[in-house]
Amino acid sequence: MSRKTPPEPPDAAVQPTAEPPVRGGALADVLAARKIDPLDIVVVVDEEEEEKPRTRVRSDKGSRGAHSRGPRARITRFFLYSILFVFALWYLTPVYVLLVTSLKPTNQVFLNQMWVPVWPPSLDGFSAAWTALAPNFLNSLKLAIPAAIISSMLGSINGYVLAKWKFRGADTLFTLILFGMFIPYQAILIPLVQVMSNVGLYGSIQGLILVHVIYGIPITTLIFRNYYAAIPTELLEAAKVDGAGFFRIYRSILLPLSATGFVVVLIWQFNSVWNDFLFAATLTTQPNWPMTVALNNLAGSFSVAWNVQMAGALLAAMPTLLVFIILGRYFVRGLLAGSLKG
């Protein structure tokens, strides 16, 4: 290193500065200590991205000035990008295989030619997969869209009550509700089948919607509760003084501020319902199978060619991938919100 004898900082000098936020515990507290709303973090990240040119200028100056200079910095950068590219390749490998295989004509799918693309591409695989899976694709849409909408409405009103109309024991109740999102659903599956049969919903898409809405209550309530907690209570107090009631406050103050919350929750629920396999495989029967179950069935049969399987997998992944590509930042906010408590 070019720097000469850096004075060893006594550990004591470093530790105290580092300590207070640590004691706080969860990430949420670290953020709270810095007065950052967890949901805002990614917005900050995204804003940086938008003003990239400026950031880059700043960083170039920074790295030349403060840290290190010259060829050494360049070598570090080279390694940095090399590692990133290797990981990018790893993440993209399945995508490459999916695309290349699904676009092969059926008579050219050879096991030992898996990495070689075939030109011209063929839609054999997609047309066969679509013929087999189209009804199930529609089932998944009929399932995931209503489930996501109902879930988000429930979550919003629950979050409103638990954030702004706290009653005695509200926080304990909230923790008890949260437990519901961690349980292995196997622990309720047998009686759930009994209940659904008894009310005549076993095997139907409506029944599956109901199940997803119920087991979506914890996560949707969590996201909205944290979202609404950031809205100043004074705003609500002022409205109360003006004579606004429970629903009036919700409609005129909370709802207009809720757009982002709804997008985050809608995406989250759409994703988890679309991608669910366990409930779907247990609670629906053939004509009502959603995409995941139908795909697993298709892929499990030895008589189905690989190009058809890969095309089917791509079709199953398409809707959630599209949502991710278009609304990725809200997806990430959901990921963060779902993992932060308090």
């Binding site: 290193m1 720097r3 004075p7 900082p9 470093v14 500065t17 936020p21 706080g24 969860a26 949420a28 507290d29 670290v30 995204d46 880059r56 960083s59 920074g62 990008y81 990133l84 990018a88 993440y91 399945p94 295989v97 030992n112 429930l154 009103i157 009550v161 109309w165 109740l173 923790t175 437990f179 349980i183 292995p184 659903y185 196997q186 622990a187 047998i190 089948v193 119920i214 087991y215 629903f247 991608n275 396999f277 366990l278 247990t282 995941t292 795909l295 697993n296 690989w306 399987q309 890969m310 992944a317 959630t320 590509i325 990725g328 990430v332 990921l335 963060l336 993992s339 408590k341 308090g342």
Partner: protein
């Protein structure tokens, strides 16, 4: 104090959700617990009490014991790999690189995909080649072909071997000396096929860990690091003494989330390997589903489900209580 009308409204509004969770989460768990103590082992419910016989039955099955071993091995590898890769990627992405958004999205997109899709694709990629299916000479395919590996020795998820600590290895003697000899049992090893499952699961989940760490890193004040730099700290010391301690809470959150996912892992195994060779990739979730819904042994299936719930609860309940306390303190 008089209870206002709005207060009543708020309670009425939240009541249906509370009731739904009370019935469908707690009520049904209770009912599963009850089923685990009854005979019910045909399609028709039979509520003759049998005490703990169902539990004795499943713990008497080698398959279930292997499932527990698989869960422990899977969890250890899955969490270690995901945390390491997530932390590494977060640190790389956080270094003001070009195309940061692109890299971030590349690392996160698998989260938007179903485990079923992941399983189907990785099964295709990791198919070792024809040797595994009994024909010779072996033609490598998939990953073996890509890296020029011999399909006879690199069998990925079709490999029935269990790696365990053999009497010849130095660790064997040490473990026996310190009273941990049971770890060297051939039943406690690492099923090779399970590692293919870990590979696919890490592919799917490590980006999520990166997102958590990235949020954690960006919450650390730049001034803190700058101050240390002024004091002459090397970047490594800054990471070791400032960044790393501040990331511990994030690490804990990530461990809990990954841990409870891996204890329940089902879809991925179903799509990729099923139970695997000699139950090498079997999991308690697969055991539960097949015991109950394929073989109609509902009593035993319920017992397996309760064991799974207990495993998850051991991890999750202290975490929920802890976060709850944190919230009260702040």
């Amino acid at each position: 104090m008089r209870i206002s009308r709005d207060r009543v409204t708020s309670l009425v509004v939240i009541a249906p959700s509370v009731l739904a969770v009370a019935i469908f989460v707690y009520g049904l768990i209770f009912w599963t617990g009850y089923i685990s103590t009854v005979k019910w082992d045909t399609l028709r419910p039979d509520y003759t009490g049998v005490g703990i016989a169902n539990y004795q039955s499943i713990f008497g099955q080698n398959r279930f014991l292997m499932d527990i071993r698989n869960t422990v091995v899977f969890t250890l590898f899955f969490i270690t790999a995901s945390l390491t890769i997530g932390l590494l990627l977060a640190n790389l992405v956080d270094r003001q690189i070009r195309g940061e958004g692109l890299f971030r999205n590349l690392f996160v997109f698998p989260m938007a995909i179903s485990f079923i899709v992941t399983g189907v694709v990785w099964k295709w990629i990791l198919s070792p080649g024809q040797a595994a299916f009994g024909t010779s000479p072996a033609t490598p395919q998939g990953i073996n072909q890509l890296f020029g590996l011999d399909p006879a020795t690199n069998r990925w998820f079709t490999d029935p071997h269990i790696d365990y600590i053999s009497p010849g290895s130095p660790a064997y003697g040490i473990l026996h000396d310190i009273g941990l000899g049971f770890i060297t049992s051939p039943n406690i090893g690492i099923p090779v096929a399970l590692l293919s499952l870990v590979l696919a699961a890490v592919w799917q989940m490590s980006g999520f860990v990166m997102v958590l760490y990235l949020a954690g890193l960006r919450a650390i004040p730049e001034e803190l690091k700058e101050a240390a730099r002024v004091d002459g700290c090397t970047e490594w010391r800054i990471f070791r003494h400032i960044v790393f301690p501040l990331l511990l809470p994030v690490t804990l959150s990530a461990m809990i989330i990954l841990g409870h996912i891996s204890l329940k892992i089902y879809d991925l195994a179903v799509a990729m390997t099923g139970s695997g060779p000699g139950f090498a990739t079997d999991t308690p979730a697969l055991f539960m589903w097949q015991t109950a819904f394929r073989d109609d042994h509902f009593g035993r299936g319920a017992a397996a489900a309760i064991v799974m719930l207990a495993l998850v609860a051991v991890v999750v309940v202290p975490y929920l209580v802890w976060t709850r306390r944190q919230e009260v303190e702040s």
